[in-house]
């Protein structure tokens, strides 16, 4: 009976630890998003689910979306929330200031680097016409869902509960306790 309560406790502690470490991470530099960057992101995530949000300093609803992500920023595991600004590298200072304002500067932040934004948009999704904000949800099977416009709290929270369930399942699989109990069975 006791063991039943132990696991949630460990998981909570683990996620608290990861939260603390992500909160204390130094601000990451803006990385330049190129045609091949999405593939690099996908492979670096190694099957973990992630959410990709495209935004711009010149998009009023994007600010509302950043404000929402600010309230949920500790609920994402490291690297599982990726922000890409579609502005040009010459706007880097304004982008960094905006990210800092919403306390999102420690996330995995990118900026469109190509001279031709259409080329980068096309590399991400030919069916995306550039409307912002634009979000993609990559699940563990690497199926993705797209969403145009401001995300609601409900959409983000539903996604977070999915990623949490993935994390719990993966923690359980990798845990020595689980493997021992399966041995004893």
């Amino acid at each position: 009976m006791k063991q039943k309560y132990l696991w949630p406790l460990i998981v909570t502690l683990l996620s608290l630890l990861s939260t603390l470490s992500s909160a204390e991470a130094p601000p990451a530099a803006l990385r330049v998003f190129q045609k091949s960057s999405l593939q690099d992101i996908i492979s670096s995530l190694d099957g973990r689910p992630f959410m990709l949000v495209l935004w711009s300093i010149d998009c009023p609803p994007c600010q509302q979306e950043l404000a929402l992500l600010q309230t949920r920023r500790h609920d994402f595991a490291p690297k599982e929330l990726i922000l890409i600004s579609t502005d040009s590298p010459q706007d880097a200072a304004a982008i960094e200031a905006t990210l800092a304002e919403y306390q999102l500067e420690a996330l995995d932040n990118w900026i469109f680097g190509d001279d031709l934004p259409e080329r980068l948009r096309f590399a991400i999704d030919p069916g995306w016409y550039g409307e912002l904000p634009r979000s993609y949800f990559y699940d563990t099977d690497r199926q993705r869902h797209s969403y145009s416009g401001l995300l609601s709290e409900a959409i983000v929270d539903k996604w977070l509960s999915y990623t949490l369930s993935v994390r719990l399942a993966s923690n359980q699989q990798n845990s020595p306790l689980t493997s021992r109990s399966s041995e004893t069975r």
Partner: protein
């Protein structure tokens, strides 16, 4: 050498004097030195190069009719100035540009938010743009005019009078048949007021001013409508009776980002908004993709727009009857991913559509033409192609021909004749 230069100048002057109207010739005197053809990215990186429509941002053009020929007037933004440059040879060479704002200031100069130029009935040159002020999305609507064919401009004036560092952007300029001048823009004062009162307010508002004295003075700032989209340009055109019509992306209840239309009132009467497109595009976001219109002599508004609604997706053409306020002949003319920036122009029974399409590697400029009021259309015709960045295309017309102007980073500012 000196003799040759004098002779060349004399020939220029002769050509200019022969071809310009009284108004335009004055400017041309100032613009008699022509620049070399400096197109392409490499030429634009030359620090000593003069500003030019090939290298500056968001060039916008109009023809000014001379005695014999039309002179192309191009405004563009470069180094915190709006410049004017003239071409007497259909864009092959341009005059040394003159700075319209002598004091430099930050300028919004992307495809959707660009300097505008209008030649009035009086042959005066009216120019507007949005000055970028400190703060997010903040801007001021700027206006100036030239009474001597572009040789000199008055100091720019700020048109919005609320003295707030908030969003007043996406200016458009037009004139009615009486010669009244209109400036319409997207304004956030209503949104900010609502937020201060704890009210929800979707989108922004359209504001406008009217001048009854050729831009010497303007009416007070008037609200045209509430709840426009926040970052899509506004299209203006004259109807068959010479009244000014606005066409813009609106935020209809439920965050439906379809298009609305309204007559811009000459006097202080409230505007009546009517829905023009029914695409049911639910989007709480920014398409950054405004529509275009051109109204024919029967008062049919030829419309071109982009949507990803549940009813239609892609680039759409439609005919909106301003008398009955009904749409007909609506058709998706390009639903290919990467198709964007449709422009429409109607003249007589001819209707032209131009747009661009990115295929993953290159961007193509496409055109189709109708000679029966937009009922049947030619095949798509490829006008140009570029590998690098490109601006929105636009129609430019002189008294007998229709052109498409398109700035590309690699090839410069192109002026392509599309009428037969």
């Amino acid at each position: 050498m000196n003799g040759m230069r004098t002779m060349r100048t004399a020939i220029y002057l002769l050509v200019i004097l022969l071809s310009y109207a009284a108004g335009a010739s004055h400017a041309a005197m100032q613009h008699d030195q022509h620049t070399e053809d400096t197109r392409g990215a490499t030429a634009c990186q030359d620090a000593h190069a003069l500003p030019s429509p090939h290298c500056g941002r968001a060039p916008t053009a109009t023809f000014v009719e001379g005695v014999r020929d039309s002179v192309l007037y191009v405004v563009f933004s470069q180094n915190n100035h709006v410049y004017l440059s003239l071409s007497t040879d259909l864009g092959r060479t341009y005059s040394v540009p003159t700075a319209i704002n002598t004091t430099p200031e930050a300028i919004y100069d992307d495809g959707e938010n660009r300097p505008k130029i209008l030649v009035g009935k009086d042959q005066w040159i009216y120019v507007s743009w949005t000055h970028k002020t400190p703060g997010r999305y903040a801007g001021e609507i700027r206006f100036t005019r030239s009474r001597d064919g572009g040789a000199s401009f008055e100091p720019p004036r700020t048109i919005n009078t609320d003295n707030a560092l908030i969003s007043h952007r996406f200016d458009s300029i037009s004139q009615d048949s009486k010669g009244n001048l209109y400036l319409v823009w997207i304004d956030k004062r209503a949104q900010i007021k609502a937020a201060a009162e704890g009210q929800d307010y979707t989108g922004a508002a359209l504001y406008y001013v009217v001048s009854h004295d050729q831009g010497a003075s303007f009416s007070e700032n008037r609200k045209l409508v509430d709840h426009s989209c926040e970052c899509c340009r506004v299209a203006l055109a004259q109807d068959a009776q010479g009244k000014v019509v606005a066409f813009w992306r609106h935020s209809f209840p439920g965050q439906i980002r379809d298009h609305a239309m309204a007559y811009v009132p000459e006097t202080h009467t409230s505007a009546e908004l009517f829905r023009a497109t029914e695409d049911q595009w639910h989007l709480e976001g920014c398409p950054h993709h405004g529509p275009d219109l051109s109204i024919d002599a029967r008062n049919i508004a030829h419309l071109a727009w982009f949507t990803q609604g549940s009813q239609h997706q892609g680039l759409i053409y439609g005919q909106f009857d301003l008398k009955t306020r009904t749409m007909s002949n609506e058709q998706v003319f390009d639903a290919t991913p990467g198709a964007s920036r449709p422009q429409v122009y109607a003249i007589g029974s001819d209707v032209y559509l131009v747009w661009k399409r990115f295929n993953g590697e290159a961007t193509e400029l496409l055109m189709r033409r109708s000679n029966d009021n937009g009922n049947t259309w030619s095949e798509n015709q490829s006008l140009a192609k570029t590998q690098e960045k490109s601006d929105h295309p636009d129609f430019v017309t002189d008294k007998s021909r229709v052109y498409v102007a398109w700035q590309t980073q690699a090839e410069g500012y192109l002026l392509l004749q599309v009428s037969p």
